[in-house]
């Protein structure tokens, strides 16, 4: 008997099994338009804003997208954010955007006690309205470094702080 035969069989069986299992599962696909990595940094009153949410509103329709895509990102300890359109740090579709910024404070509690609302914006909504935003961003093909967002002398929500 050919001594290689059992090995061949085992390999064959394993291959069949793998092929059978490969057919199942897997994440559902979705339609996506090309995105380009983009990152930036947020500083408020000299402190890197940790946990701030940066969101980009498209100024014109994005070709291929049925609904407007609003890439967003959350800043880390250093105030650095990476934009996400579909998942992870995939960036944003190319085009012109209005950038908005809010900085929720999950530690905020109502002064009179009671049920805290959804984390309120430390910046009190000053930069969260795309209609009034002063920040403009253009995303191009390839890596994008968004100009650092430096906010000075911004009044902070009462009962909130720049840390945490």
């Amino acid at each position: 008997m050919d001594p290689k035969l059992p090995t061949t069989f085992a390999a064959c069986a394993a291959a069949c099994l793998a092929a059978a299992l490969a057919g199942c599962g897997g994440p559902a696909a979705y339609d996506a338009i090309p995105t380009h990595p983009a990152s930036g940094q947020v500083t408020v009153n000299g402190v890197p804003a940790k946990g701030a949410i940066v969101r980009l509103y498209p100024k014109s329709p994005q070709p291929g997208a049925k609904y407007p895509l609003m890439p967003s990102g959350k800043t880390d300890e250093a105030g650095v954010f990476h934009l996400t359109t579909y998942e992870d740090a995939d960036g944003a579709p190319a085009g012109a955007y209005t950038l908005t910024l809010e900085w929720p404070d999950p530690a905020w509690r109502p002064p009179g006690g009671g049920m805290p609302p959804p984390p309120p914006d430390r910046l009190q909504g000053r930069f969260s309205d795309p209609e009034q935003s002063q920040f403009e961003v253009r995303i191009v093909e390839g890596e994008n470094d968004i100009q650092p967002i430096v906010l000075e002398d911004v009044p902070i929500l009462e009962g909130s702080s720049l840390s945490e």
């Binding site: 064959c12 069986a13 199942c24 599962g25 049925k66 609003m70 967003s72 990102g73 959350k74 579909y86």
Partner: protein
Amino acid sequence: MMTVVTATPPHAGRRKSPAGFTLVELLVVIAIIGVLVGLLLPAVQAAREAARRIQCTNNLKQVGLAMHNYHDTFRSLPLPDVGVSYGSAPWLSSWSLAILPQLEQSAAFDAFEPNAPNGVSDQVNQDVVGMQLSVFRCPTTPRSGLLQGIIEDQVSATFNPNLVAGTGDYFIARSYRDPAFTPSEIVGALFNGSTSVDWSQPGVRFSSITDGLSNTIFCFERSGFPDIRKRGNVQKDPSEYVYPFVVDNHFNGWWASIQHDRIRSWTYDGTQYYGPCVINCTNDWGGAYSFHPGGMQVSLGDGSVRFLGETIDKGTFRALVGKAEGEVVGEF
């Protein structure tokens, strides 16, 4: 005299075959069995999930029919927050309590003490709130028994780890909110105000659901709350919670709690809200989420239960949540 008979066996010329299998034959059989088992195992798991999903469908059906019976009795749908009146200092309770008699749980409804100072979170109501009613629990959701510890009262907003509550996976939609649309927020079926509840008014009547009952979602799944998951059923790190207070204090996720919320869109990885995904990306604040592979179940206003695929068009989903927008609902 002895005759020696030498019997000549038939086929004497052929080599005698050995009893049993050769190694190769054995391996072939094992390999075939292995492949068959490999094919079957996922199918068995899928069949078990299908059975659980059908039970979940049935639960939503019961809830949908209970809403209809409630409407028949009271001429309006239950108010989302206050199923039972608590006088001047209301603790928010749920639509689930209000429809208990319609779910053949009259005994539980009668045992509930609506005037207890802390309402659903009062010690005297632990017998009712601690019931694990299977009609509010989706069997697909991995849960280990009762929820230990719930938010105690609304004024001090404290967490009581000694209270227990029967879990609940079905929510009603307060609204759908997504700045990709204009208006960015549209109100859900059971809400009589513009984006919230108007307690001075009766609940919503069928006649004001002008989009049609068969095109309007009553209940959707936010399974597993307050065990927060993101893509691939991976647990979210507490630092990623969008509204940590409601998670940490077990504000929802038990059937007697308020069990309603806005639905928001999310990114596909479930980390940022207002993205392209509406179903099964996270059960965090605003997420519509089930543990069913490929989609989520909803009960519609006509009492039917539909499975909505994860790939559903965002605009279609929004139109299903809204009750009077006049939006055309496509195929879903």
